[in-house]
């Protein structure tokens, strides 16, 4: 198989981001945020079509080597994902490397709103921006998974630089896989992607991939907002 690179673009409406999903991402149970929050979310969702520029790219390669210490070498690029992720990808025949963004507009608008005192409105857009890029990469993963099923293969969970022992600074090498500024995403000296609402990572694939553990289950971040909310619910 030759390496292949495929680009994706979505409209905001294609992602079906609902009021309930946004409530949940803010910590509420679905349908349980107090007034006026649901209304404010709905009106923010209405503005998002114009604020988002959703793009992604998937680079699929099976010229792929993974050593026991967790170094991946592919297409002339080498980076350390660490032992934890390495163990999950042990049976991978290759990797699909992705970058994806919701575009700069939504983050900028969120900042502007907050700066002029529209705090809740700004925060809601920030959360929608995060959900947008996460939903877009879910969609891209869905497309890729179907292709793999057709080819008699399975996919592993997604892993990203900055999670599960894959150091964020390794993102420098990772980005060498993509042309500069691809999808409008730039990587800063400090490994921050611009636009802010962007993600990157790998989806391993192969005929013998077992169900892998996903990031949240392996993460050790005690201060994670998602974890504290989940624990509070369980009480």
């Amino acid at each position: 198989m030759h390496p292949s690179q495929k680009d994706f673009a979505y409209t905001f409406d294609e992602l079906n981001i609902s009021v309930e999903l946004v409530e949940e991402a803010m910590g509420y149970e679905r349908g349980q945020s107090p007034d006026p929050i649901p209304e404010m979310i709905a009106s923010a969702i209405d503005q998002c079509a114009d604020l988002c520029n959703i793009k992604g790219s998937l680079l699929v390669s099976d010229s792929f080597a993974l050593d026991p210490s967790g170094v991946i070498e592919t297409l002339g690029v080498k980076f350390l994902v660490g032992r934890k992720i390495g163990a999950q990808l042990k049976h991978a025949e290759g990797g699909a490397f992705y970058i994806c963004t919701a575009g700069a507009g939504i983050g900028e608008r969120s900042k502007d709103l907050m700066a002029c005192g529209d705090l809740v409105e700004g925060y809601i857009l920030d959360v929608i921006g995060s959900l947008t890029v996460e939903s877009a990469i879910d969609k891209i993963q869905g497309v890729f998974e179907l292709e793999m099923i057709d080819a008699g293969k399975r996919i592993a969970s997604r892993y990203s630089p900055g999670y599960c022992g894959w150091a964020l600074k390794e993102q420098k090498q990772f980005f060498e896989l993509f042309p500069e500024n691809h999808c409008g995403i730039k990587l800063s000296e400090s490994c921050l992607m611009d636009p802010i609402k962007s993600v990157s990572g790998i989806i391993g694939f192969g005929a013998n991939i077992r169900n892998t553990v996903y990031e949240c289950q392996m993460c050790e971040l005690d201060t994670c907002v998602y974890r504290t909310i989940r624990l509070a619910r369980r009480k």
Binding site: M26, P34, D35, I124, L168, L192, I196, L221, D222
Partner: protein
């Protein structure tokens, strides 16, 4: 007098901005933090009391509920907005020195990092606890922090970072600040930061949430 301050605290706690704001629904048609602050001052309540026995009490209650996951960020922001409408009436008293706040913090997201929601929340909640806040924004380098501390000696410096690649800049900035103005207290926070890291780089305080910082600051006085 007590009654109007209690009402004011309630408005801040539940994000009732002014008469026109329809939320919370059970307060429709009633005065909000805006009108009540103005009225309290007109009634002759000392501005320091309006701040500390009204606005600050309300914000403190939301802070505690936020820490306990009983309310989430949007409700804190609604309270912060109600508070800011009250604060606008207190501004002249801050400027002429007749209201003395508990102290001053200088806050910013460190060099290389653009995340600001967490930092903004900390800034609003610390301000809501009666402190003056100088917010330097995001991507702030050591030089800017040093200049701000030199201009405001005694201020507590608060650093925020959301990435492991940028939290390392906290050490550089913290040290520069302490060298320029010895004795400066430096507090750090943000998702990837923890107590171990804070100890390792020799900072004075780490707090996982705004309330933790507010508790620490409260014990300084």
């Amino acid at each position: 007098m007590e009654e109007i301050l209690e009402k004011l605290a309630y408005c801040v706690e539940f994000g009732k901005i002014n008469l026109a704001s329809p939320y919370p629904p059970d307060m429709r048609g009633q005065d909000g933090a805006d009108e009540l602050t103005k009225k309290a001052l007109e009634m002759g309540v000392p501005p320091t009391e309006v701040l500390n026995k009204g606005l600050v009490i309300g914000m403190g209650k939301v802070g505690v509920k936020f820490r306990e996951n009983k309310v989430f960020v949007p409700q804190v922001l609604m309270s912060a907005k109600a508070m800011s409408f009250g604060m606008a009436h207190l501004k002249p008293f801050f400027n002429d020195g007749s209201v003395v706040r508990k102290g001053k913090i200088i806050i910013g997201t460190v060099e290389g990092d653009l995340h600001d929601i967490g930092k903004n929340l900390v800034a609003m909640m610390v301000e809501g606890s009666g402190w003056e806040v100088i917010d330097l924004g995001t991507d702030v380098n050591a030089g800017k922090f040093v200049a701000a501390v030199q201009a405001n000696p005694g201020a507590v410096v608060c650093l925020s970072a959301l990435l492991t690649t940028t939290m390392v800049n906290m050490e550089k900035i913290g040290k520069a600040v302490k060298e320029a103005v010895p004795g400066t207290i430096v507090a750090i926070g943000g998702a990837p930061v923890n107590q171990d890291f804070s100890n390792k780089i020799g900072m004075d305080v780490y707090a996982p949430d705004p309330q933790g910082l507010i508790d620490y600051l409260g014990n300084l006085n």
